[in-house]
Symmetry: C2
């Protein structure tokens, strides 16, 4: 009997760089080590109580299929939420998805055929790779650099990547993992490019509210003349600290696109109902909620930034948005260093975990000495994490002379 | 500025035949007409109270990302559930998905490359078409017939469909839409075929508990020697009347396959947590729950069957499982008839909705005069639905002589 063989894509699909070190962390925990998880964008902030209350009060006796595009009251909430930012959208321009993940997969399927291409500035959210594999499409990475604050490349750099197969550009703004916020001027150039080359422009704006230093978030939905091309993929996970809720959405004024999304969505029937009930309550919270979490995250960012910049030979990009920070460490391979921290190092029974950045690049070989740190823990824990990282680096460079720079 | 174009698959993907008549039903409801929905497998049975209680008691303050493969306590529940049926599975052989839909998509992606083929007896659950489009794979339909009780075709009929691109066979058992339960002998033949041609065997067994007339459900997991090939896709939606929960799973003893599924699953991070908490409680209900719903569904089946067989010129297959019934009506096009029932017919302000069956066939032209009726309403409503159908058919045949047979 021959061995049955999986599809090639099952071998090709990237294992999550954010989660693949988890077995080492689990092993450390078994040995009684406490791990500070800066590797994953899972905030420690409580999901607002109104979310839990709304779900507890849900009175239906049968948990029925919901509408494929989301329950009407949540679509209304989303409409009000986007209108607040000046987006001229109605409920029919919104499709509720099972988290931002499904929003991205559906968008990829809708705008690209198998083998077609999407340009994404790198480093980019690593799970885009998995979604591209699932949709059978190709990500064309366009490198941005820590030394330049991960700013968008000039238009000629984009144009170098455009082929007959290019169908879309994806921008994550504010950026994961970079924390970079694109200016209106940068975005204008990309909008013009999309118009010129007849491309879709997909914007991952799940960190819309996480903007620091008085910067303003500019959405692609604010540009006139881009209505047919603009697709927003969104999620409540980060905004309301509800990562396990699995509620996201697609927003677009392109009617034909939304009809296609409806067909993909009908195949999988509906997104989860209860969490949409909770999300309605979350969207009623208003701006006070965001002000409170804004202050907390800004403090965390500053604490992590000050800590990291005080470590010698570490290069850090100060992010203007989201809750991630990229740092270049004086080691050859940050994955090896990450594993060493989990396996062979601790201070008073504590160690730290981050995400090696090479998995966030599409270009092989890049990011080997970079890491992503999520500032999703309180400042006390961030300070301890920085301390462990500082001491760990020193120790690692002493014992592993050949693997450090 | 040129018009931006969607992917070809966005035009090709089938609109849900179960949901596409919904606008007509909505329109009828606006006119004050009550519609009996036999078109969709949405039971009116209450989701057991333990589900709601478990979710209300959930004490975490932050709804965090869960493990990609499901929360540990639910994996344990599923293991016990499958062990009860004699499946030799452990928690690592189970992967929790966002409903059965995701279980099927992941399975398609894992075993087939773009353009490869899966053989599915038709009529089959229509949403397989959407999942195949998303995965870029091709469903090769193998026709079964109402006159033969939709029994599995002989092996030579399967062999006629096998090409160099065939990678898998999918069986839905008990069948949706047919309600047919495959015997151990029928399944043995397919298992031998899968071994002979080195194919995966995917079994959609979400209706496992819905078996009538003293028949026994045989799972592909019970066959020795099929461990590397067998994949079960499952869901709590029908079993526990929790369609809006979006909790399903994949079960397989193939380690390499489960590693691939983990990678697809990590890309989308995790299935919803709260409903898994509820599902743990559901799996603790035990057999009494199933006995009660069994009796109710059997009564509904018998009521619908007796009703339909009493209408002249209607051919009905008496299902041994699930909660669907296929009937051949004396009209040329059941979709037109369905629309007519919603637009132009009612009895005392009530009408009925079913799913035209042509969308459940992969072979064009088949099923035009067949329908699927879901017996998910109480017997009183089923009797009223049959009455409306009987009178409606008579009326339709009188006013639309050219469209009836």
């Amino acid at each position: 009997m021959s061995q049955v063989k999986l599809s090639q894509r099952s071998y090709d699909i990237q294992a999550s760089p954010i989660r693949k070190l988890t077995p080492y962390a689990d092993e450390a925990k078994k040995r009684g080590i406490k791990i500070y998880h800066l590797n994953i964008g899972q905030p420690d902030i409580e999901t607002p109580g109104v979310f839990w209350e709304a779900i507890r009060k849900y009175g239906e006796k049968t948990l029925k299929y919901g509408p494929s595009n989301g329950i009407p009251q949540y679509l209304e909430s989303l409409k009000r939420y986007y209108n607040k930012f000046g987006f001229n959208v109605n409920t029919e321009d919104i499709f509720v998805t099972t988290a931002g993940s499904e929003a991205i997969i559906f968008s990829f399927l809708a705008v690209m055929e198998t083998g077609e291409e999407i340009i994404i500035p790198e480093p980019y959210y690593t799970n885009y790779n998995g979604f591209a594999t699932m949709a059978g499409v190709k990500i064309i990475p366009l490198t941005t650099y820590i030394e330049e604050g991960f700013k968008l490349p000039t238009i000629d750099k984009f144009e170098e990547k455009i082929t007959s197969k290019t169908r879309a550009i994806l921008l994550c703004n504010p950026g994961n993992p970079t924390g970079t916020v694109y200016t209106e001027e940068e975005l204008t150039r990309v909008v013009e490019l999309a118009n010129k080359y007849n491309l879709f422009l997909i914007a991952d704006e799940v960190y819309r509210e996480f903007i620091y230093d008085g910067m303003k978030h500019t959405s692609i939905m604010e540009f006139p003349g881009i209505e047919e091309r603009a697709i927003i993929v969104d999620s409540i996970s980060k905004r309301f600290s509800a990562c396990g809720a699995r509620v996201g959405c697609i927003v677009s004024k392109n009617k034909e696109l939304m009809e296609a999304i409806m067909k993909y969505g009908q195949a999988r029937l509906c997104p989860p109902t209860l969490e949409q009930i909770g999300a309605v309550a979350l969207h009623n919270l208003g701006d006070d909620y965001f002000k409170a979490i804004y202050n907390e995250y800004k403090l965390r960012r500053d604490t992590l930034y000050e800590g990291l910049t005080s470590i010698s030979d570490v290069i850090v990009h100060k992010p203007q948005g989201a809750f991630y920070m990229v740092a270049k460490l004086p080691v050859k391979d940050t994955e090896e260093f990450a594993i060493w921290l989990l396996k062979d190092f601790n201070i008073d029974g504590e160690s730290v975990m981050f995400a090696p950045l090479d998995g966030f690049y599409g270009t092989p070989g890049l990011g080997k000495n970079e890491v992503r740190l999520a500032y999703i823990l309180n400042c006390e824990d961030i300070k301890k994490s920085v301390h462990i990282l500082r001491e760990g680096l020193e120790s690692y460079r002493t014992v592993n002379l050949n693997t450090t720079l």
